[in-house]
Every structure is written in structure tokens, then in C-alpha cells.
Symmetry: C2
Amino acid sequence: MEFLEGLKDRIELINSELARYLNVGDQPRLKSAMRHLPLVESSKRLRPLLALLCAEAVSDGPGGEGSKRTIPFALTLEVIHNFTLVHDDIMDEDELRRGVKTVHVEYDMPTAINAGDALFARAFEILSETGLDDAGLRKLTREVAQMVREVGEGQQWDLDFGSRMDVSTDDFLKMIELKTARIFQLAAKGGTLIGGGTEDQVKSMEEYGRLIGVGFQILDDILDFSRDSALKCAGSDIRQGKRTLLVLHALEKLKDDEKTRTELMSILGNSSASDEDIKRSLEILNSCGSMEYAQDFALNYGKLALKKLEVLPESPSRKALEGFANFMVEGRTF
Amino acid sequence: MEFLEGLKDRIELINSELARYLNVGDQPRLKSAMRHLPLVESSKRLRPLLALLCAEAVSDGPGGEGSKRTIPFALTLEVIHNFTLVHDDIMDEDELRRGVKTVHVEYDMPTAINAGDALFARAFEILSETGLDDAGLRKLTREVAQMVREVGEGQQWDLDFGSRMDVSTDDFLKMIELKTARIFQLAAKGGTLIGGGTEDQVKSMEEYGRLIGVGFQILDDILDFSRDSALKCAGSDIRQGKRTLLVLHALEKLKDDEKTRTELMSILGNSSASDEDIKRSLEILNSCGSMEYAQDFALNYGKLALKKLEVLPESPSRKALEGFANFMVEGRTF
């Protein structure tokens, strides 16, 4: 988390704005359920951070006018991200997130659906306060809405892949582009736009966001094996039978080793797999070189992203965006 | 449905625009789940109808420019209404709606949550096409988002009331103002605004929308006893233990008749209550005069609403809004 230490001032700003924006509504149980997940302080705030850094990099630096104009947009993305987590946790039947009980466990399922919806609605209220001209905001609002719909498409592919044996690497990449990368892509695009970037800068930073978003998800799938169980169960992707890049690579490598392939398949999607089983699946993935393959894959996306930063003038904010890309694709421990 | 026959041209326009707007997305299962409920043709389309009639009444009549400008806004409300139904049906565990299986039954629960979210997102994409100046749209977008959040507050009160014995008539009215009336209120306000109405007209029509929205819900609770079971189970409110105006009135009337009160309470919230039980609960409500009380209550809201129409010039559209109010609070059979 060393890298995030250097962005502490922005994270504190995001946390306080978030607490303020979510201090809303007259229904005590709904309000409390809405605030449950977003206000967990250990959240890394990656999406709003990205938007703010991009705005800084094309305007007057940290804490300047460009950054200030971007705050509501940045918070919109954080609130949307949290709404999708609240609903995804219901769909995936996850019980822990960020070290706390998920909303449907802490409250109940109907309240969690409702709280997610209310967060989603709140996001558009916040977005309307963005410091962008009215015509620009109309366009941005449409893009935010489209992004959420595409994130939902990604989530649906993810749900559908669980019961399919014919998922290809391309299918997987399309899925994470939608489910994970779209919001980073729009964070970078929107931040650069609101900060006052040129058309070229906006385009290049949008691509930067997409690339680190894909790399982030691949690293996340790797880290799923080493999660602190106080935060989320390690190996939960395997237990849920998710077709991650790791799994797809191993299944391909094992196509002539029926025995090991069958062994891996017997663990994959077995919701009551033991920790011993998860350890064994990790051994198989390692023996196939799948962990290394995925790591290289993520690093490569990171490298491509760094190149996109060349459109930005040299500045501490650009430097931070270099660190951000590295953090996204290799620097995290969970 | 005689009244709606006269609005057939608008309903057909709404249906075809809705089919067009929901022909979107690349994920086949999500797309199909999104379209499942909204495109059921028997839907009455009351919210978009209200928006269009208001726009007509303050501009150039049916099919004119004012009405055309309002179409995306009107469709936004219909899509939002459908998204809330998809999620409410999960929360209430309802299996039938508009004569078809609910989305979580026809597909599955995760897909239904996701389809609701995608409809919600799509609504804001559609809203951005409304024929309103950019500054006006920024404000309207915020109001639509706030309305959805308040509908969620109403839904949460409704969920919470089920397990409480101390619900008052005021609590109940506050709940249906949020859950049911808010969207009619904004339909009337937004339609009048986009149509080009004066500040006075907008304010008066907003109040008209609120009043018929409350009356609509009270009539709906009455009609719950006489529903065609092919559409939705009759008596489902009783089985779910909902504190409707009818129930609140009867419990008050029965406060000195412990035996009948206990009998009613034993049916209320009993999810496996028989049709015989539901019939008996209806007898009790009738003997308390609760059905008549609720009918008068709804009619009174309708009368107050009709007065609000005085701000509009005489026209066929104003005439239609009179019929609309009557239909909302007394004219429907289901």
C-alpha cells in the first residue's frame, strides 16, 4: 500500500466527500444499508483517484480548479462501483467484503437490493453537480449510464460462463473489459475531459484506463488465492467455478493430461471445496505455468498503458499515474 | 378499460418507442431478461401517458411538438417503473405479474437483479435524448434520480411495516406518497415543464400527479382482493401482511372486538392462507366499513386532483386528464 500512502490527501478528500454525499434520505434502515459498504475506510478508492489524477495532470495540479470540478464525477464512480458490489455480492452469495459482512448478510436481501438501487440513484444526483458545462454534462451522463449497462453485460457474461465449458480467452477478455475495465476507462476519460484535456489527451487516457482496468482484473484473479480470509475467502473464484484466465490457460495446457484435468475440474465450481482442495488447485495452476502466464499478461497491459501517458506534460500527477498503473497490474498484495 | 381505448394512439406510440429503446445491448440473456416485463402489451403505460397528456395540454395538442419533445422523458419513467417492478418482485417473492412469470422466476434471481439494474441505467440514457435545453435537462436528471431514491425509501418503509404493529395512517400515507405517488408527480411535473407550461401550471400539475398517485395506490389495495389470478394472486397483500389503509382502518375499528381482531391478525401475513381465509378477511373488512372508507378516501384525492386542472386551458387533452384522474382513483377494474 506504499504507493497509496503518497495519495493519502486525495483519499481523505474522497472519504470525507463520500460520507457527506451519502448523508442523505429519511429512511433510517435504507440510509444505514446504503452507507454500510461505501464507508468502509480500507477501501482503496481507485476509481475516483484515477479521475482526480487525470484531471490534475491536464490542469493545475493537485487541489487545483481542474481537480475540484472533477470531485462530483469522481464520487459518482465510487458510488456506482459500490452499488454494483452490493448487488454482485447477492448474486455471488458472498458473505464478506472489505473485512465486513456484505449488505445482504448484515441487513437482508430485499434491503440490499433496495440499498444498491438507492446508491445507483444517488450517483446520478451527485453527477449533476459536476463542474462541466450543461451540454458536456448531458453527454457525460449518457456515457455514465451506458457504462453501468455495459458493466451489467459483463456481470451477465460472468454469470453465464460458470455453466459453460467452451469459454475462450477472447470471451474472458471481453467479459472483464465490460465488467471491470469500463469504469476505469470512463474514470480516466471523464477526469481528463473535465480537467480540460485536449481531444487527443482524452482519447489516450481513455485507452490508459481500459488497459489498466483489464490488467487489474487479471491480477485480482491471481490474488484471489492469497486473500486474507478476514477480508474475503481465498479461492472463492475456484469454488464458484469462475473461468478466469488462470483456469482457461491450465485447462488448455492439460488437454492431454486427462487425469490432472479431471482433478482440477472436480474442484472447480465445488462450493464446498476444502482449503486443501484450493491449495491443490493452485499447485496444478502453478505446474501448468498459469500463474506466471497471467502475471505476464497483466504486466504487458501495464506496459501498454504507460505508453499512453506520453500525451501528458511532465508533472507530479503524471508521475502518480505511472505509479497508479504499476499498482493496478503488479503492486498490490490484495 | 374504456377510457384507455380513447388513448390508444398514444399507447401504441409508447409501446413502439419502448420496443425500440430496449432493443439494445450485446448480451443475449440480459437483453431478453430486460425486455421480458416491459414489453408485455397489456401494460397500461399510465406514467408515460400522464407525461404526454400534460405536455399536450400546455402546448400544441396530441402529436404536436410539445408531445414529441416529451417522448424520451415519458419512456424514461416507464423503464424506471419496470425496473422497480422487477426488483420489487424479487423482494416480495411474487411469481406472476401482468399475466406472465416474473423475471426472477422466468430467468433466475441474479439475472433479474442485473436486468433491473440495466433497465435503470438504460433509463438515464433515454432521458438524455429529451427535447429540453441542457440546463433544464441537468435539473430534470437530478429530479429523476431523486425520485428513484425516494421510491426506494417508500419500498423500504413498506418492507419495514410488515413486521410492525404500530403503523399509523400517516405512516401509511407517507409510504405510498414515496413508493407510488412520486413517479406520477414527476411525470406530470416533467411533462408540463417540457411541454412549455408556466411555473404555475408546472406547480399545479405536479400536485395533480401526487394526488392521483396516492388515490391510485389506495384503489390498487382495494382491487387486490378481486384480481384475476392469471395476472396476480388475489389477496396477496393480506398474505404478505401489508398494512394497507383497509387493514389499518379495520384494526382501529376492531380495537374493542378482540375475537374478530385476532381472527384478522391470524390471516394477515400468513403466506399460506387459503382462498377461504382471504374471503373471510374480506368479510371482516367489509363489516368494518373499511372497503367503503378506502374507496371514499381515494375518491376524495381524485376530486382534489380535478381542481388542479383549472390551470390548464380547455382542450381535448385537458378533458383526457380529467378522465385520467377518474380512471386512476375509481375507473379501473384491475
